[in-house]
């Protein structure tokens, strides 16, 4: 159900930033609006792990003072943001959604946090997430499950559960998430917001909790594609502190948002991504393709190669790397992980090294073959982000559900995980609602480093639709 009221927290990030720059709204009033929504609905949604109101008001007042003094201001000046609780901020808690790191306070900050700060934004909360970013549903044994603001008994998607829910509920204008198998795109889809997983290496991972060396990505969730474009222009680019980050120049993503898709070929895969898709999801994706065609794009039916192999190799790589990173804790304090996290990591110890190396060594040839076969025919791919209508938290509670629950939960990321193995940029934007009133996500993916093209298509779609602007009416608990 839609809410009738409006407040400044309903502004998109770009509109809010522009309003602050013009003096039409103060940074303090933006913060007050976000905190009012948080105070009203956090008990129901459970999107945060910590909130620092005192520091937030100090930052907001400083932002207003700086603007009043005529000092130079950045593209995110005075914006209150909140991030998945795994982005290190010197002197602040970074629980990583775990009990193991319940008291972890790093003494250095992530590069992306510093870049956002240099652009004028500040962080006021650490957001709920799957324990160590290791499920796609949003369950968390230690900090409580995150609830979908559109329909509370349903999943938010994960692992950046709080990021998706907080943006949808107007607790914040945008949030960083991380994506190893879909953890930005899944909560973006489930909560009706926009989220982009950039090309592997496009954004620095320095100061970010690792899960998988080969598949981790940093990216934003926000109300609109344009919001994501602005944040990407701030955070993308080489970081000397992360030698794995790409040295390619960063375009002005926002400047490329023309709304014009003439000459763009968009592939709609007829296999894999639509296997066993629910009817409301299929209908929403087909309707979305028509909107894109209306903007000038050519829709091309496509059969994708190698997808089953991609899914298997992706799983092997992420399980082994996750198990490696958590090995010491798995040996010394296994009870401090939720059972389903133990269960996800254990197979990582059971995979022979030769299989892991095989999965990694196939990655280059598979990407080359995929790129050659697919991107010779099309510029972008559109698919459902999630094949099914969203399940409830109860139906995907691996630790307490009946046999088979794990398959339902793991099935959530079937359409997102391949793009982590391939390293390709991929975004989810809202494109409709299912019969339970829950959002449906459209996944748009592109060539390596083609974030600009992905964002352009997403923005063009949002010019002709209003799914991204809708606001959930959150039930009281």
């Amino acid at each position: 159900m839609m809410a009738a009221r409006l407040d400044v927290a309903d502004l998109s990030l770009v509109d809010a930033a522009d309003a602050v720059r013009k003096g039409e709204v103060s940074a303090v009033s933006l913060l007050e609006a976000c905190l009012a929504n948080l105070d009203s609905h956090e008990e129901a949604v459970n999107a945060t792990i910590w909130v620092d109101k005192e520091a937030a008001f100090a930052a907001a007042r400083a932002a207003d003072a700086k603007r009043a003094a005529g000092g130079p201001i950045g593209p995110l000046h005075g914006l209150p943001l909140a991030h998945k609780d795994m982005y290190y901020q010197a002197g602040r808690l970074s629980s990583c959604g775990s009990v193991i790191r319940r008291d972890f306070v790093p003494d250095y900050s992530a590069t992306v946090i510093e870049r956002l700060s240099a652009a004028g934004a500040y962080a006021f909360a650490g957001l709920n997430m799957a324990e160590f970013a290791q499920n796609g549903t949003g369950h968390n044994r230690h900090h409580g499950d995150c609830h979908n603001p559109w329909n509370l008994p349903y999943i938010t998607g994960g692992s950046s559960s709080g990021s998706g829910a907080a943006v949808a509920a107007r607790f914040t204008f945008a949030a960083l998430g991380s994506d190893t198998g879909g953890s930005i795109r899944l909560p973006a889809a489930a909560n009706g917001v926009s989220g982009i997983k950039p090309t592997q290496t496009r954004v620095s991972r320095y100061g970010v909790m690792p899960l998988s060396f080969s598949a981790d990505n940093v990216g934003p969730l926000a109300r609109t594609a344009r919001d994501c474009a602005r944040i990407m222009s701030v955070i993308a680019g080489h970081d000397p502190r992360d030698p794995t980050s790409a040295e390619m120049p960063v375009p002005d993503y926002e400047a490329g948002l023309t709304g014009d898709l003439r000459g763009i070929r968009i592939g709609m895969p007829s296999t894999y991504f639509l296997d066993e898709v629910d009817a409301p999801v299929r209908a929403a994706i087909e309707a979305a393709a028509s909107v894109l065609a209306g903007r000038g794009a050519t829709i091309v039916p496509l059969t994708l190669p190698l997808m089953d192999a991609v899914a298997t190799y992706a799983s092997v790589v992420s399980r082994v790397e996750g198990a490696t990173i958590h090995a010491e804790w798995m040996r010394q304090r296994p009870q401090d992980f939720a059972t389903h996290i133990n269960g996800r990591m254990f197979p990582g110890y059971a995979i022979p090294a030769t299989y892991y190396v095989e999965a990694l060594s196939r990655r280059g040839p598979i990407l080359k073959a995929f790129a050659k076969e697919v991107f010779s025919q099309v510029d972008l791919l559109v698919t459902p982000t999630i094949r099914t209508c969203l399940p409830t938290l109860a139906a995907t509670d691996i630790d307490n559900g009946p046999p088979g629950t794990e398959q339902v939960a793991l099935g959530i990321s079937t359409n997102t995980r391949p793009f982590n193995y391939l390293g390709l940029p991929s975004m989810s934007i809202p494109c409709g609602f299912d019969p339970n009133g829950l959002p449906i996500g459209l996944q748009i993916s592109g060539r390596p480093f083609a974030e600009a093209a992905v964002l352009q298509a997403a923005d063009a779609y949002q010019r002709d639709t209003d799914w991204h602007a809708r606001r959930p009416e959150i039930a009281a608990v």
Binding site: T199, Q200, T201, A246, M248, D308, A309, T312, Y313, S315, V316, R319, A327, M330, R331, P334, Q335, T339, H340, N342, G343, R344, F346, P347, Y349, A350, I351, P352, Y355, E358, A359, L360, S361, R362, R363, G364, P365, L367, K368, A369, A371, K372, F375, I398, D399, P403, E406, G423, R447, P448, F449
Partner: protein, 70 residues
Amino acid sequence: MPETPDEAALALEFDVLAKRAGLAIPEDRKAALFAGFKDLRRMLATMRQPRTAADEPAGTFSIQSVTRGL
């Protein structure tokens, strides 16, 4: 490794692998972890593929080099 052995052999393999990794799996979690292990074994059985010229070391994943080739 590719072929999936019977339940008893899998259980033995599971215990050996846990011991080799230095893991003391809590008794109340053993069933859940064993179920996941069995899924993994089924998955691994599909992994082996013929190696071709594309699999030589020069094909190692580097997203920037792939981009240059497009």
